[in-house]
Amino acid sequence: MNDPARFHLLLCAGGCCLSSGMASVRTALAAALAAHGLAEQVRVTATGCMGLCAQGPLLVVNPDGVCYCRLQAADMAELVRGHLVGGQVVERLLCPDPLTGAPVRALGDLDFYRRQRKVVLRNCGVVDPASLAEYEGRGGYQALRQALGKMTPAQVVEEVSHSGLRGRGGAGFPTGLKWAAVAKEPATPKYVVGNADEGDPGAFMDRSLLEGDPYSLIEAMTICGYAVGARQGYVYVRAEYPLAIERLEAAVATALAAGRLGPDIFGSGFGFTMAVRTGAGAFVCGEETALLHSIEGRRGEPHPKPPFPTAKGLFDQPTVLNNVETFANVPYILRHGAEQYRALGTRQSPGTKIFALAGNVVNNGLVEVPMGMSLREIVFDIGGGIPGGKMFKAVQIGGAAGGCLPIEQLDTPVTYEALPKAGAMMGSGGLLVLDEDTCMVDLARYFLEFLQEESCGKCTPCRLGIKAMRDILERICGGEGEEGDIGKLELLSDYLAQSALCGLGQAAPNNLLSTLRHFRVEYEEHIRRKHCRAGVCPALAPARAAGEEAR
């Protein structure tokens, strides 16, 4: 290293740390460094999400590896004077261990990090997301060089197939099969589309990846283009993510200027380019056919499959459509080989999964774990358990199409096979922890309200079925539930699952069904005793409702 800097400071510039005041912290840091004449000796990098979002804004001092948390602009003079000038760690600003309260020096010393395995998030929180040089300094673009220089397109597809990678958007479809299907289509042009329409409430994996490591998506989509014979890619990012859009667009422009995208990449003769399209606020556009319609400038309504997008996708041409997280696995697979990748996770569900851990849990944040880890380890060992001495009630996994699992199911491993058996699904990665103050009937009502709002209205079962189910739940929560309501809900759920046009409608009853399965007693209390044990439903808990408006 010919870097003259004595210290290298990493500032988390993920969306959450920015919202918690990182910009003013950075300004104060620059002023403090200048005041001590340290500007030359201290290198400062603004990185993507470090993961421990609830403790933000975060700052890491390297080479010492010391992490400071919950920083304010007023702390920076003391931090620079104490640590960088005086060589003393500023204990007051360290992260407290959630269990003992004792200050922890390095992020790696927290259970939150020790039990994670960062494969997809390998660069997130480490590199400057704008810097192509830093990305390449950590092995970026080796996978693409290797693919273009040493592998045929068929070998790339074969390696991805062999890795066992499955779609991280939730359905778990084998990625290699999808690529192989497009590769064998004779029609051209073909397209590669990245789905960053992360519409599930409580999910921020794709947002964090785009904000923290945009080049990994660009590299992966270029590899995919080479493998299947496509020369044009699109990334569809939801409009709710302005920072992710800004950083991805900047990275695409840099990659283009540096010849990492364009007509002749690394002198191989292979050309690939990319465009970013932003959504306009429609949950259904996460569904693949709806997303493609939206890129085409149409209403984001799904169409029946087949034809599948692999045969007739964007502009009716063969199209690979993968989730951002799925793509971000690909460079790792090519660099380290499918065998090494398969060593992570389980046989049927290889690799890692990123989860957005939120709700009533101590360590809210972004985590990546090997598949097969139990929900208990994620919620209690990594998440630190339930704050405020409250009781755990359920974990809601898989977003609007997912389900709620009770304490008895906490040993379920996170795999594509085990979660559906338990009555939930992997989903895209939202993992919401619920404590005793959550009413499961009201939560089921909430999801149906959400889905009714977001139904595109094209098919009748979804447009009217969800409303009929929601109406029953509104009655139950309003103290007017009747005997037989549960049976009606189950019947309607069955109709909807069998007859809706797309996944949004077919999966709409999932949260309701999982709460009926695991928390049926709460429904019976609402209907028969007109009682809401959590005190959430106002009509059923008059004594607490007056003071509970904040819930």
């Binding site: 920015l18 999910a203 709710e240 306009a280 606020g281 949950f283 939206s294 149409r298 939120a358 909430y446």
Partner: protein, 168 residues
């Protein structure tokens, strides 16, 4: 790395806004000025005009070779497009699940009471419009409000008055 800033007010002069919209579309080669540009064009138009009145929809339709009905169909499908003028500041309550379980419903009730308008409404003095978003991925900071582009974290009904006062 700036903190999110307030969106500049829409252009007061419609003729200038139409010129800027045309300049935006002229960036793209003629063969691309078709339906595929419709959503980017409407996004740009809303940025310039603040909302999408019929004249603007017809202008976009003509520029892209579409019927006014096709443009209206798309403009009414997506939550982001507004056909009515918005207030100077747009308040969005996040109604994603993490915000919901941490109190977004109470926050929405307090906002309705405070502003005297419902979701989708605008105050008579045009100071605020009230809307909702279904998760912006800032779940760690729940419950949140997004005002213009700024995220306000851990908001409770008690903090509302002080937050709203920042937006004259």
């Amino acid at each position: 790395m700036a903190e999110p800033v307030t969106v500049p007010p829409p252009a007061a002069e419609p003729a200038a806004a139409f010129r800027e919209l045309d300049a935006f579309l002229a960036h793209f080669p003629a063969e691309l000025r078709t339906r595929t540009l419709l959503i980017p064009a409407l996004q740009k138009a809303q940025e310039l005009f603040g909302h999408l009145p019929p004249a603007v929809q017809r202008h976009v339709a003509a520029a892209l070779g579409l019927t006014a009905g096709e443009v209206y169909g798309v403009a009414t499908f997506y939550h982001y497009f507004h056909l009515q003028p918005q207030g100077r500041h747009v308040i969005n309550v996040c109604l994603g699940t993490p915000c919901y379980v941490k109190g977004a419903r109470g926050l929405l009730a307090a906002l309705r009471r405070e502003l005297g308008i419902d979701l989708g409404g605008t105050t008579p003095d045009r100071r605020f419009s009230l809307g909702c978003q279904r998760c912006v991925g800032a779940c760690v900071l729940a419950p949140i409000l997004i005002i213009d582009q700024k995220v306000h974290s851990y908001v409770t009904p008690k903090k509302l008055a002080a937050i709203l006062a920042q937006y004259p």
